[in-house]
């Protein structure tokens, strides 16, 4: 047990802090009023930010340098994330590619796919969205029915994806398609990489709870996906074997997707808010409890990273984290809403944050599903 950071890690932190402070200020003065990252104009602003991150070498701290990363350890990643959220930097529009797709590319991609996909993802040249859910397949992901039929030189895609985050602003989709028509459930699915400008693919953006166009539905209408539509090939992993990729990706989406710095930053803001409105004892107590939970998430992450570095893997335990951070986010924002009182109904950062927090227990596998996983795989209860 040694909870001190090394001098080198302290230096990493100072460097990140300084870079973020300077570049956020420059970026903010460049864009004027900052718009929501779930709107076309907001995404355009954020692409400028992504460009800065990439040029500064901070886009993907823990990736090897050959793919555009910084070659940092998980500790450096964690430190950078803590600084990132502390500085109030925006949520990344590259997030779904970097956090959900890239671990699968590292694990299942061919060398050619890695060389092509990863640097473009890091530099935001390609913006990836996640095409897993369908109108009739949410929690029951293995029931997806979008199809890909093998033809000479490629695949013919049919079907529909939905709830695709920022789909209207992305260039590519990674998704699950049924390639074995005889198959059912998790067998016979293939993980395909699809440029969204493929003829026969239609994307329609629509409003989330906060009204921004953060969702999209994606229609595939006899769309021909050529084998070389993506350099290195459009199939990630093996044909008909998408499920192993999904299982690996879902772990990272639930677990390390959420750096604790985000909740530490929100709890620090909450404490400032309550102090500024001269909040009473009850608000202060609730904030103290939420702060402890954010701290506990940070500590648990330190523990998880330590065991990952010792050779352990991120197993079903990531479901424990997902339940915790999603419920914590709601708690933090609910307290803020109460602290704001009448002003809570004003459409601002806090109320936007509150509305976004409400989606936490739904996406990345609902918390009911996570509790099933905890019970069955962590505690070993009978199915």
């Amino acid at each position: 047990m040694d909870l001190n950071w090394t001098a080198e890690q302290d230096a990493n932190r100072a460097e990140a802090r300084q870079w973020l402070e300077l570049n956020l200020a420059e970026w903010r003065s460049e864009i004027g009023e900052q718009l929501s990252g779930d709107t076309a104009d907001g995404v355009a602003q954020q692409m400028l930010w992504e460009q800065r991150l990439f040029d500064g070498g901070w886009s993907v701290v823990s990736w090897p340098t050959e793919y555009g990363g910084r070659g940092g350890s998980l500790w450096e990643w964690l430190i950078f994330e803590a600084e990132y959220w502390r500085a109030g930097a925006p949520q990344r529009v590259t997030q779904n590619g970097i956090q959900i797709l890239s671990p699968s590319v590292f694990e299942f991609g061919t060398p050619e796919q890695k060389d092509h996909l990863l640097p473009r993802m890091a530099s935001a040249e390609d913006l990836w969205c996640q095409g897993w859910s369908e109108p009739n397949s949410g929690s029951d992901l293995a029931s997806v029915s979008s199809r890909a039929r093998r033809v000479d030189g490629g695949w013919i895609l049919d079907g529909q994806k939905t709830w695709t985050t920022r789909g209207a602003f992305c260039t590519h989709l990674f998704g699950l398609f049924r390639t074995d028509p005889e198959s059912s459930r998790h067998r016979g699915l293939t993980y395909l990489l699809v440029p969204l400008d493929t003829p026969g693919v239609t994307v329609r953006g629509f409003g989330r709870l906060d009204g921004d166009e953060g969702f999209a539905e994606v229609f595939f209408d006899e769309a021909f996906l050529a084998d070389d539509a993506v350099v290195g090939g459009v199939v990630l992993g093996e044909v008909d074997q998408a499920w192993s990729v999904v299982v690996a990706a879902a772990g990272t989406e639930r677990g390390l997707l959420r750096p604790p710095g985000r909740y530490l930053a929100t709890s620090a803001e909450l404490i400032r808010l309550i102090a500024s409105v001269d909040g009473d004892r009850s608000l202060r107590r609730r904030a103290a409890i939420a702060w402890m939970k954010a701290e506990a998430f940070d500590l648990q992450t330190l523990r998880v990273i330590t065991s990952l570095l010792d050779g352990g893997d991120l197993g079903s335990e990531s479901s424990l984290s997902k339940i915790w951070w999603s419920e914590l986010d709601i708690e933090l924002h609910a307290i803020a809403m109460d602290a704001l009182g009448a002003a809570a109904e004003i459409d601002d950062e806090w109320s936007k944050g509150w509305q976004f927090a409400l989606s936490g227990p739904i996406y990345a596998g609902t918390n009911e599903i996570q509790r099933n996983i905890v019970a069955e795989r962590v505690l070993g209860l009978p199915r």
């Binding site: 102090a275 402890m292 500590l299 330190l302 070993g380």
Partner: protein, 314 residues
């Protein structure tokens, strides 16, 4: 940065777990409900050095710190060891007081093992003093957890001043909160484990009740609470061992989260047992009742939340 116990710490903990699983099963806890506790597990822990982890080597102790003791206290909690090990091994030892069973009223006015203790560390004007068994008057109380053998204690002799330094007294209270938090995490885990076993066996509607989703979700909630209380306890052990500025705050956070994890685990354990859990025949009650007692010792949740809020809003 390294957040995890060392090999040595784990080996020490595992040895204690082993010993307690052999010598302090539920039958032994039950013995303490009927009369004097079986002295064996306590003397085995003493022989292992657990009671003197914090005592300097020069004084015959192991000369180690809280990061060695805390994992073992979790095991003591898991076993519901009848003697107040936090009082002796954590609080008294850190104040340089050794003795076989030393108990204290610093954590609350109702003191465990009052009938067998040979040392009484009592709060006196601005400090702490040590009294022998013949220098105190005991007013026994009947506690819900009968194995605690508790009493209110009043000094009748002069005693020996251990410290009159308020900051040392405060540090002793932080250690008490930390040690109790560790016991509570162990208890929470134990109640959950007992229940996981039970719901895997008990059948209703032709299947194990553990296959019902409502039951699963109850137990998942307990598991989540334990997952996040554990690291808070570990961090507080480190902060206290290192004399960090945040030690008091971290001890309060550990006690609060451990209290809540134990409360959650106790609640769902009882519910998922049904009526059998609501008896003194089922072992569950031994752990339930201990957890209820420890949650209020060394500061209840309200107390510790206020302390943390005080730091955050100072």
């Amino acid at each position: 940065m390294r957040f995890g116990w060392s090999e040595d710490q784990l080996a020490f903990r595992d040895a204690a777990r082993d010993l307690l699983s052999k010598e302090c099963g539920p039958d032994v806890v039950r013995t303490a409900w009927e009369g004097a506790p079986d002295p064996k597990p306590w003397s085995s822990l003493e022989a292992m050095g657990v009671l003197s982890v914090l005592v300097p080597e020069a004084d015959g102790g192991l000369g180690l710190d809280e990061t060695f003791l805390v994992p073992v206290l979790e095991e003591a909690g898991r076993a519901a060891l009848p003697q107040p090990i936090t009082d002796t091994a954590m609080v008294a030892a850190s104040l340089g007081v050794t003795g076989s069973v030393v108990v204290t009223d610093l954590g609350g006015p109702i003191v465990g093992s009052a009938d067998t203790a040979d040392g009484f560390l009592l709060a006196v004007d601005g400090g702490v003093a040590l009294f022998d068994a013949d220098q105190v008057e005991r007013e026994p109380v009947t506690t819900v957890d009968r194995s605690r053998h508790a009493a209110r204690i009043r000094a009748t002799g002069p005693g020996r001043t251990v410290t009159d330094d308020a900051s040392e007294v405060a540090a002793a209270r932080d250690r008490g909160a930390l040690g109790t938090a560790a016991e509570l995490v162990g208890l929470a885990d134990q109640m959950l484990a007992i229940t996981v076993d039970y719901v895997g066996e008990r059948q209703q509607f032709g299947k194990p009740i553990g296959s019902f989703q409502a039951v699963k979700h109850h137990l998942a909630n307990a598991r989540v609470a334990i997952e996040f209380a554990g690291p808070a306890v570990a961090r507080a052990a480190w902060s206290i061992a290192e004399g960090a500025d945040t030690a008091s705050r971290d001890a309060s956070m550990a006690k609060y989260l451990a209290n809540e994890a134990a409360a959650e685990s106790a609640k769902v354990a009882l519910q998922c047992h049904g009526a059998i859990g609501y008896t003194v025949e089922c072992d569950l009650h031994l752990y339930l009742k201990r957890s209820w007692a420890l949650r209020r010792l060394w500061g209840d949740s309200d107390h510790h939340v206020d302390r943390v809020a005080g730091v955050l809003f100072e």
